[in-house]
Symmetry: C2
Subunit: 282 residues, 2 copies
């Protein structure tokens, strides 16, 4: 696989971790960073995530591949303008929603140069300091509306994801957003709400701190996630997320009703149902 000059717009957790793997796998002849934050640019350079920094205005001149790893509301704003300036460069986005992004450039004359991707990896931390080695290995990446991408752009992108150890799934953007609401977006909302519940009810910080077991930590971990990333995701995937959230609230009401009515048989049944998640998650 020929090395290319790769620009990463957004040198944070996702972009920075990808940069580390592109480097390790020898996929880049040069890694160029673009970031809205001078501090992020400084850290990205200092950690060696990228070789140099450039501006959005110059990125299409300097790079053959441009990867967008910024909040999805910013991708929607930047993507059409980038494609306006593209000749044969490849543009890839790594956002957590896909319908609005693919919709916004569907009839763009350079649509073929763009590949819509969602690597299923993240942590509750953000910024270039949070970037880690081997992040994407053995994880899934979803490629959306691939029939709208040029064959060469798609081919290179698939090879890149294979080289960093990701298995690939294909979906249309609507199906992606629906599934993402179930398996990712709702988890974040429950975790945010659980953190707020505990912070509201438990006024004694020390008690939480001392008593919190691994179970609590794991359910509340995602509550540390950055609103700058997540508000745009919920905004763009509003209908699917609302639909799953309504279902979740009605599931919680079943537990509440069992407790209120002291219906322990039905409570056991609900928990037995929940145990079936074992079939899916080891």
């Amino acid at each position: 696989m020929e090395r290319k000059k790769i620009a990463i717009i957004g040198t944070g957790l996702i972009g920075g971790s990808l940069a580390l793997q592109l480097n390790e796998k020898g996929l880049a002849s040069k890694l160029i960073g673009v970031d809205a934050s001078p501090e992020n640019e400084r850290v990205a350079l200092e950690r060696g995530l990228v070789d140099e920094i450039t501006s959005i205005a110059e990125v299409t001149e300097k790079a053959e591949v441009i990867i967008l790893s910024i909040p999805v509301d910013q991708i929607v704003i930047l993507l059409p303008g980038l494609l306006d300036k593209v000749t044969d460069q490849i543009v890839i986005d790594l956002g957590s929603t896909k319908s609005q992004l693919t919709g916004s450039v569907q009839s763009h004359p350079k649509r073929g140069r763009y590949v819509a991707a969602h690597p299923m990896w993240g942590t509750e931390y953000s910024g270039p300091a949070a970037a880690v080695h081997g992040a994407f290995e053995n994880k899934a990446v979803i490629l959306c509306n691939v029939e709208e991408s040029d064959a060469d752009a798609l081919e290179w992108t698939k090879n890149m994801f294979s080289r960093i150890g990701m298995h690939q799934l294909y979906m249309d953007a609507q199906a992606h957003d629906l599934h993402a609401a179930y398996v990712s977006h709702i988890s974040h909302i429950t975790s945010f709400a659980l953190a707020n519940t505990v912070l509201e009810k438990e006024r004694e910080d020390n008690a939480i701190f001392e008593l919190a077991s691994a179970g609590f930590e794991s359910t509340v971990r995602l509550a540390k996630s950055n609103p700058k990333m997540w508000v745009p995701v919920f905004k763009q995937n509003r209908e699917n997320v609302l639909d799953v959230l309504n279902e979740h609230i009605s599931q919680l009401r079943k537990f509440k009703s069992c407790l209120e009515k002291e219906n322990w048989e039905y409570l056991e049944e609900l928990i037995n149902d929940a145990n079936k998640i074992r079939r899916i998650i080891k």
Copy 2:
């Protein structure tokens, strides 16, 4: 610390993991297992968690320390009868609720021989095969109503927990149950309900399986927990759990309302509030 003959009633995840650490720290001259399940007894022997098996009827004759690590509804049933037969043995329970247990033996003539403890550790697995080494190390254990325990029984119990690496907190049983509802019991309910939400909405098992990221796994992990353990906990801590669950549902409704009304500023505020959990959980 003098080695004692220690019986463990309930050789599953908690009892089995404790047996491993009692062995490693040389605290037992003999470890005796009691379990309602012959299969658990077989595995506990085979894994060397215990040296021999006995019956409930004989346990007070054979052991100097008796540790109860069974579901809390069974502890309530067994504890008074055990204390009836105790002379100077020590009886310790490891249940996740404390008010009903301590209440049930409050005026028992042998109350002093009993120490109420809740080690803050567990996993979503159960049975002796799930027992792990070093489980309790650097974790907290809450000792409840210690003024009702005899000085020697309390002293030995505290030493035992210190030797297996647990730091100790003291609370009355009511305070314990309140805090446990916040930092442990509610996490399990949200996780059970989240699993049911996803299993209800997402009919394509393969999609969940392929797409589920680490974030989803961590929030839904506890949904694999055993109903035989958890229904009795919710039953005994019903009022506190209901109270926190009501708060949790109203927190989720705030997120729902933001999405419905497209109030993105307030959504960002809610997430910023949730981020404050960082103050408590690293």
